[in-house]
Amino acid sequence: MSQPTTESKMPPTEPTSSPLFRGWTPVSSRLNPYLPPIFITLILLIGHLSFGILESYQKTILAIVSAMACELVLSRLLLHKWPNLASSYITGISVGILLRSPGYWPYVVCALLSITSKYVLRVNGRHLFNPSNFGICAMLFLASDAVATLSIQWGNNLVAMAVIWVLGSLIIWRARRFHICATYVASFLLLSVVRAWITGDPWLSEVSPITGPEYQLFIFFMITDPKTTVRSKWGQCVVAFLVALAEMFFRLGQSIYAPLYALFFVGPAAIAVEMWINSRQSASGAHKAIAQPSHVQP
């Protein structure tokens, strides 16, 4: 875990937890900070107005308010600056949609855990876990008697699902992160054949989960999160594949929350490996710089 002084490495004004801020045209750049919240709000509205996916308005609002308030307090306390709240809004709304519990307290605790993890679980100024993924996994590990996650589909209407897939893909494409989603989806479908072959279950039953809204949120908002993915394009594809691969093993172990757990373990591991590689390269570069000073000092 890093010291708070390294927080300055976090861009202060960039609402950072989505790829949608990158690769957008300058004309629309002023809208950029609002696109991810708008998109996830759209998902929520389509899902709820069409099928009533929310447990309740109050619980979702509770999660959002808790996340944003937590971000505000921790940013002021540790960074002494006013945060952009778009990221925490997305975290709160993800918790509100994905978490299922009859009680109110899990929504508060999960939202607070998600945001706090960004400030506590850090290495060299970089947080390792996708916030909502961490919060939800922590709740599933620790409070399985009180929570579950969204495990339902968009009713029998394909339109709502198609709208989200198309819109999400277009935005992700503009954000130059479509390759992550595409790699994951292709890997999932490929590995579903392997799983069906191993388990003997119908192939469609293995494909079934990816047709649900939980995966739409997972694909568009969790595995593409720029703060918790590796930097290189090929590395991102490898990580997306590894998430799908880890998920396969979780699924073969009959883990209900396989994709969330896969990202929980693979995501931070990938970042750690990338940091290790970067540090080696830096060290090597410094060593070369020392050995060949004439190259850098004309």
């Binding site: 099928f51 009533g52 009859p102 855990l113 706090t116 008697d145 029998n156 699902m161 388990t199």
Partner: protein
């Protein structure tokens, strides 16, 4: 000198505290449910909780074990799941001897239903065969899913409507000496795949009408499937189930199907329904708990129904509704509604619903809030049938819930595969071929039952184990009745692929009771829909005669009120379905009153 990062330390401690919160909440819940997991001997249970339930079916001459249906072989991989219903129990005094009898359904093709006549000596004798209501599951006619009793021709004897996946049957009660099948004459359709039906007089004409809620579509013959696309097209938003029927009683032995005409038009997957006057309008409203979707509440203006699930708050969050029971749990003259759903640790936490009317609603309206968590009756496993009744005669209604879905291999669970398919698109979930095989695995099996004792102050405490309810069968239907006319409520539980259980109740001395056996004159003879408002000491409680409630169940028509100690009975006001209001004073406790509607 390096500065100590106090802020960061504080945030880290806060973070650890958050991680510890679930453990604290779990500990609190464990403390609260401690009573549920401790067994007590009879005397200790009587002393602590005021009653004890002893399973006496064998001693009472009942050794019935339910047989599940075996459907089309195309469903073999998931047969235990699709053939998971059919065990039911209904209480009826079919021969009017003043002693409640018990009717139970069987669900294998060729199996027999049983009508247990109360022999007045603590035992029962099966008379279904000789009276003609046993052999009702012949191949080609479908199998029984439940039964509800109501005197549709007002001749004084309760008639039998048999709920089936198959050909629905109406049996006329020939003055307690036998039954005559009148299904065609009554105008019933040739096939309905139903799990619920309710007798009620929706239009107040003095004739009992009949609601039947379809589950699978009526064009599906589960024994001869054309294809396997007969599953719900969604786990929580399915609308491809069976249609609903409202059979209006024409008074000449015939019924007219009028559901669409009066505003009941739904293809949700109905599993339970019941009717009661929820708004004080004098007209019974119809509450339907749907599997794979939201509940529906049809408000009745006496002529038409208006679906008001969302408006009243009960039709917002889609769950897996499996029970409808009404009870004045706060003794404030209003019915709460208990709807059971699914809760499985680590997999799915829907939570059961206890819909309690909000205060201050305008006249003739009602709005509910779910207080199941606050009142302690939320988590009941894979819940099925539940009924309210004052089990210890302390003056407040308690709640008995049975549960458990498929109990097969204890060590292997189907839950992972179930969630895998349940999250899929309609084209996948709707086809049984896409469902992974169960392979002998359990799905929420071997669950402990719940007997929630109402403390009268807004909390229920689970005392099931302590008061002798220790079975872990796959429970389906619960019915309550004072089986041996002792002034206590006994409990009968029907289990899928399991025995019929008779829990004989012993109540600690000191608490009083009163019972009412109502008979309509201008109203329907069964007095279904009649409401008694009883006042004693500073208490008030309402109960209503029901034509079917819980899951695949019907309680005794006689109304049982516990009164507690030091009773000062004030009055009983009877609101008859005809609109007549009858007030009775000078009542004395510990007595059964048989009351005929005044002319």
């Amino acid at each position: 000198m390096r500065q100590i990062p106090w802020a960061r330390i504080a945030v880290s401690i806060f973070f650890v505290g958050l991680l510890a919160t679930p453990a604290v909440m779990r500990w609190r819940l464990a403390q609260r449910t401690l009573a549920a997991h401790s067994t007590l001997d009879r005397q200790a249970a009587l002393a602590r909780h005021g009653f004890y339930l002893e399973e006496v079916s064998h001693a009472a001459g009942i050794d019935f074990v339910h047989q599940a249906p075996t459907l089309d072989a195309k469903l073999n991989p998931i047969m235990p799941e699709v053939a998971s219903m059919g065990a039911s129990v209904s209480i009826v005094d079919f021969d009017r001897d003043g002693w409640p009898d018990i009717y139970v359904t069987n669900s294998a093709e060729g199996s027999k239903n049983h009508l247990y006549r109360n022999m007045h000596d603590g035992t029962f004798k099966d008379v279904a065969e000789e009276l003609g209501v046993a052999d009702v599951n012949q191949p080609g006619t479908g199998v029984s899913m439940g039964a509800v009793w109501g005197d549709y021709d007002n001749d004084g004897y309760e008639d039998l409507f048999l709920i089936k996946w198959g050909r629905p049957e109406l049996f006329h009660n020939d003055h307690g000496h036998g039954f005559t099948r009148v299904s065609e004459k009554a105008g019933l359709p040739p096939w309905i795949n139903a799990n619920t039906a309710v007798w009620f007089d929706y239009d107040g004409d003095g004739l009992l009408d009949l609601f039947v809620g379809g589950y699978y579509p009526e064009d599906v013959d589960l024994w001869h499937l054309k294809n396997t696309r007969m599953m719900p097209d969604s786990f929580e938003y399915a609308k491809n189930g069976g249609r609903k029927y409202l059979f209006h009683n024409l008074g000449n032995g015939k019924f007219e199907e009028i559901s669409a005409k009066v505003g009941i038009d739904s293809r949700r997957w109905a599993l339970a329904a019941s009717a009661a006057d929820l708004r004080g309008t004098g007209h019974p409203d119809l509450f339907i708990a749907n599997d794979y979707g939201v509940s529906e509440l049809y408000l009745n203006d006496g002529k038409r129904f208006h679906e008001a699930g969302q408006q009243t708050g009960v039709g917002f969050a889609p769950k897996s509704g499996m029970n409808v029971a009404f009870g004045d749990i706060l003794n404030d003259g209003h019915f709460a509604v208990y709807v059971s759903n699914i809760s499985e640790n680590g997999a799915l936490i829907q939570g059961n619903n206890l819909w309690v009317p909000k205060e201050g609603a305008p006249a003739n309206t009602v709005s509910f809030e779910n207080l199941a968590r606050d009142m302690g009756v939320e988590l009941g496993g894979w819940s099925f049938g539940a009924q309210f009744g004052d089990l210890n005669n302390d003056g407040t209604l308690d709640l008995y819930l049975t549960n458990g879905y498929v109990s097969l291999d204890r060590t292997r669970s189907y839950w992972y595969d179930f969630t895998k398919i349940a999250g899929g698109n309609s084209s996948i979930i709707g086809d049984a071929r896409d469902w992974p095989a169960m392979d002998g695995r359990s799905l929420s099996g071997y669950q402990q039952k719940h007997v929630w004792l109402n403390d009268g102050a807004g909390r229920f405490v689970d005392v099931a184990q302590a008061v002798g309810v220790t079975d872990t069968y796959d429970g389906r239907a619960v019915a309550m009745a004072d089986l041996w006319n002792r002034g206590v409520l006994d409990v009968v539980v029907a289990n899928q692929r399991g025995p019929l259980l008779l829990y004989k109740n012993t109540v600690a001395p000191g608490n009083h009771w009163i019972e009412f056996n109502l008979r309509g004159v201008k109203s329907n003879r069964s007095a279904i829909g009649a409401e008694v408002e009883l006042r004693w000491n500073d208490q008030k409680q309402i109960q209503e005669v029901s034509g079917g409630s819980g899951f695949s169940a019907q309680n005794d028509r006689r109304l049982h009120f516990g009164l507690g100690k030091n009773v000062q009975l004030k009055s009983a006001v009877i609101h008859w379905p005809s609109g007549k209001v009858q007030t009775m004073d000078s009542l004395i406790p510990d007595k059964l009153y048989t009351i005929e509607e005044p002319q």
